[in-house]
Amino acid sequence: MDAEFAAFVAAKQHGLLRYGMLLTGGDPHTAADLTQETFLRLGRRWRHVRDVEHQDAYARRTMTRLWWTRSKRDRREQLRAEPEERAAAETGPDWESDVWAALQQLPPRQRAVLVLRYYEDCSEREIAEVLHCRPGTVKSQASRGMASLRRLMGVHVPDQRPEGAVGRSVDE
């Protein structure tokens, strides 16, 4: 392995593993597999990746794309961690626990869209480009995800935004 790439893996693995946990809803094994696959993808294009300005964002988008493809392939598969593993990790403030618990209960594709949206501050169009899907798909997944989050977190006050609009719209 290229020494520079090895240093890159060592430096970025914690952040990518954490991002993988967000995507998978707390499945450590799948998060580790996703992180490994992401590094392999980056390694194959290392001559290009080494010159990318925002390597972290590039890596996260690569991982999100892998997760999106994987979740499409295995829609029936439950890729969430066992409740016991999650309970042991819930050490933050109460609201963090609520958000984390709600995120873990979302379907994989809705969670992927929301994580990418709020981690990277991407528009629906940008997310669609990353995931190679239609903006309408992103919009519907995000809308359903936010509705589920509100329901799971007991948020009864509706947003002031029109139905279906999440974060920045396509035209922003």
Partner: protein, 213 residues
């Protein structure tokens, strides 16, 4: 941005998310890279084998194709025989007498063509057609490559077209034809068919004469 969105943003960016401890991640990535390289090499080898196989198959098929290519030895022996010249002569001063039709043939290109039983000579078309066949009693003549032969037949009472076509059909299915000039036998009895009778066929030294079709 709503409170929920703010909370979500704060959590995904900085929230307390449990991170699994994967001490061997570097080794796993390195092993994955090695496997990828091995698969790529195997794929290249497989592709090379496929290309080589296709090449071999192509050579084999091309050779087989050559076997199926037209082979002069397999074509009809008389297929390339042509009528070099024709002639209609009057043996005597009496116009009512039979005239003699002569067809000079150019030899075949590959194999000898036998002029013998079954060879048929036809003159004219439609209702005025007349023909004759080489009888079984005639000793066949082998027309070799580059040789010439003259086929003679007596012909009388032609009431058909002015310049009929003479045609020779060989038993192997091939044929040759040429148009005759105006020297045709006189029409002595329109009610009686024209008569054409094979007389002989022999190899010939062609030194001009006759008429080229």
């Amino acid at each position: 941005m709503s409170d929920l969105e703010r909370q979500l943003t704060a959590f995904v960016r900085d929230g307390d998310v449990p991170v699994p401890h994967v001490p061997d991640l570097l080794e796993r990535v390195a092993a994955g890279q090695r496997r990828h390289r091995q698969r790529r090499v195997a794929g290249l080898v497989a592709a090379a084998c496929v290309v080589a196989g296709l090449g071999v198959a192509g050579v084999v098929l091309r050779d087989a194709g050559d076997d199926r290519a037209p082979n002069p030895a397999a074509s009809p022996a008389c297929g390339s025989v042509t009528i070099q010249s024709t002639g209609v002569t009057t043996p005597g001063p009496d116009a009512a007498m039979a005239q003699e039709l002569a067809l000079v043939l150019d030899g075949p290109a590959a194999r000898p063509c036998t002029l013998g039983r079954g060879v048929r000579i036809t003159v004219g078309s439609g209702a005025s057609t007349t023909s004759t066949t080489v009888p079984a009693t005639f000793t066949p003549v082998s027309l070799g490559v580059g040789q010439h032969a003259a086929v003679h037949a007596t012909w009388r009472n032609w009431c058909g077209e002015a310049s009929p076509v003479a045609r020779i059909d060989f038993p192997d299915g091939s044929s040759a034809e040429a148009r005759l000039d105006h020297d045709t036998p006189a029409c002595t009895d329109p009610a009686t068919p024209s008569v054409l009778e094979f007389r002989t066929a022999q190899l010939a030294d062609v030194q001009g004469g006759g008429r080229r079709p």
